[in-house]
Amino acid sequence: MAPRLSAASTPLAPVVDACLAQSCKSKSAPFVRSFSSTPCQQKMSRARQQMFQWLKGREGSEFADPRGGPRYLGPLQDQPFPLNPLFRSQPVLDEQTRELIWDKVMGRGESLKAVSAEMGVDVRRVAAVVRLKEVEKQWQREGKKLAIPYAKAVMSMLPKTSYREGEKNLPHEPVNEIHVHKLTMQQLFVPVSESRHFTREDAAKAFHDTMLCVDARSPQPELIKMEREILEGKSRQESLAKFKEATQKEEDKVARRIAQEQQREEKATTRVTTDRYEFRFKEINADDVGRNGRSRKGTGWRYGAPFDDRKRGLVKIPTSVP
């Protein structure tokens, strides 16, 4: 695109002169003239001017090329949105900590709950970190290229928590967080005698007969047990060892159950390998489809049952990916 002439900076006369001079000079095309004799308007509204002024100013240029460390708009340091102090950019686990978690779980064979309690990271996050790290390691083994420059840039822009082994560390997030149950969100008036020892369990019962109390809904019941033992007078180390053993045992149990399930599955299938395919046969009971032929347990389609997978108005988007 040809450069535009700004209206304010250049008066008309030299432009016209230049045009004239050019048209006189070139003999091949004597009638070359600009289409309009007035210079075109610089289309820059006031709002745009102000925007670019801000972007090129001190504040805007800081965002354009950040110099290490997070930088957000909001008045508070970790507030990305100026109007919403209720949303903050919370720190993420840094590279070394994620590596450490992976090493603890996969290398040293510690249980997820023990790692979670020790490092102050949610159990689900610990599991996710290990899962993602495993994929990363697999990529490295396969020689696949990682997105290193991207990762470096992103991690430099985010607030981070780092865990140093053998030092005193702040927890990353609460490990024993409990969802607020729908039933507890209403106000309830329960007349109780003053002398009665009204505990959490009683409160849960008051909300609903089948409702569990906080201790039962906790993701880390072993941890509560450990703290209780410590309060009863046992030494911290002893109860910690007990806690680790208990969580380890629980995890082993789960692992064993999964292995057994796989074994059972394997037993039920007959594999026949041909040069091209591997056929897997399983016993199927035709009656599993149920009375209307739509039971989830059933296999295949019962003759006559309507097949809705292409019907209009029915959602085809999968609800889960196994």
């Binding site: 949303f87 997105a147 702040l170 927890p171 609460p174 024993n176």
Partner: protein, 524 residues
Amino acid sequence: MRKPYRFYSLARPKLRQSWNKYNLYNLYRQTGREPQIRGTPTFFQQKWAAKAKTRSYHGEHIPEKKWVRLFSRRLLSAVDMPPEYLAAHDGSEQAAGRGSGLTTSTVTAETFSKVPALSTQERSRRRPLFGDVNKLLSDQFNNMTPYMQMTFAPLERRLDTAVFRALFASSVRQARQFVIHGAVTVNGKKMVHPSYQLNPGDMFQVDIEKVMYGTGVQKEAQAHKRLHENLEARQKKADQAFQNAVKKLGGDATTEQAAAEGETEGEKPEAEAEAAEGEAAASEDAGSLTPEAQWKLNNRALKFLLKDVKKILKNNPKDLTAKEKKQLRLFRADAKRFLSHPEKSEADAVELIDELQLQMKSHELMRESFEKLDLKEGQDQSQAEAGAEAVQATSKEGEEQPAVNREREVEKGLEGLSDEQKTKAKRIIGDAQLSKDEMRKLARLLQYDEENPIDDSKPYATPWRPRPYMSAFAFIPRYLEVNPNICAAVYLRHPVARKGTAEVPTPFSYLTSQLTHNWYLERG
């Protein structure tokens, strides 16, 4: 839905889920704020305005009908219950003595919590608006669970939004495109529906190239024109010079030597270099040459190869100048040609260096054998060579030692020689040879460069840089766990509200969200 006309506007600003600079500016000037109440807007009008504002940010690409079906009045929240508290108290202390007027129980679960609090440090203090009623109203919300900020939580479950929140795309619309184009997998299976609702524990993964494209600086046309011109010119010259050299060598060995001497004197260093290059490029063809002549060619090639590298190696790999970086890239291309790799081959930096080292070693061995054979050469010449050899031996013994030490050893080895011979010997050692330490350094340098190489086949500007204004939008909400190395993330759980914070990233104040929530409750 079609992208609306004037998506980013300054006259009628709307906030968008995007890293665009217009959006940044609109955020900065607090576009989405609740207006000061003037006149008497009806409740309906207030709700309508709030709804319009929030919907232009949250899922503006989703039809209203679909969002209304997603809307849920059940807002999720969570409470931290430290195990220490649960062990120490059974909850009866909350009720104890209430009937007899005791209301000052200070024991709460919150007092046991050790999680670091949110920062209250202000970075920049802007002049507050005098008499801002909205601000006065909002102050109290910091001490309660902001449920209303969770109004748009169901949208955060969508795959396209999650991809955007994990910083894998620069806008939701781009994330949506990535999904539709098949660049996103969920639990290892390709998922092409942007409206797929993630379940807790789902892992989604985006193609690395797409992420680099989405979050990187845009590519300019002909950005590396100069570099390519340089490379091409080099190759062309090298080819020609090689032809010349072959001709000369075939004709007369002595004249060739003289010519080489003349060249090394400094008359035409470029041409000499090119000659050496050319030799490297097609050493196969040089089979007809005598071994000695071939060795000489090889020597010159090596010398040229290592000419610039020596200078670069003295610096820290992190702060190379642009010119040095360019030289490094040229070196890589040259080395590939010297080791007769194909031009486009994806040789690993370590591999390249290993091969180079092997070449050098064999080159050195050949030289030694020549010297044993060739006793007819001038006395001084052989002496210099011998001195060089001695130095070589000593330096090989002390491979790990730093360069200064090596320099001293060189000096020691060259004792008893004239100055001229010394310089000659040094040139032989210095130009055509790198110590192991230097080799290792070079390998590290090349690896560092390889992490983020110049590659014109990519759809983004190379070497990759984050796009401008990204840092203002760079945050990862806690309900996602992201591994940026493989561009994958796990959706851990649904977003929740806690005391004083809500996990749904929304740029609007509590008042706006409240009005919006009321709109969707449909209670008139």
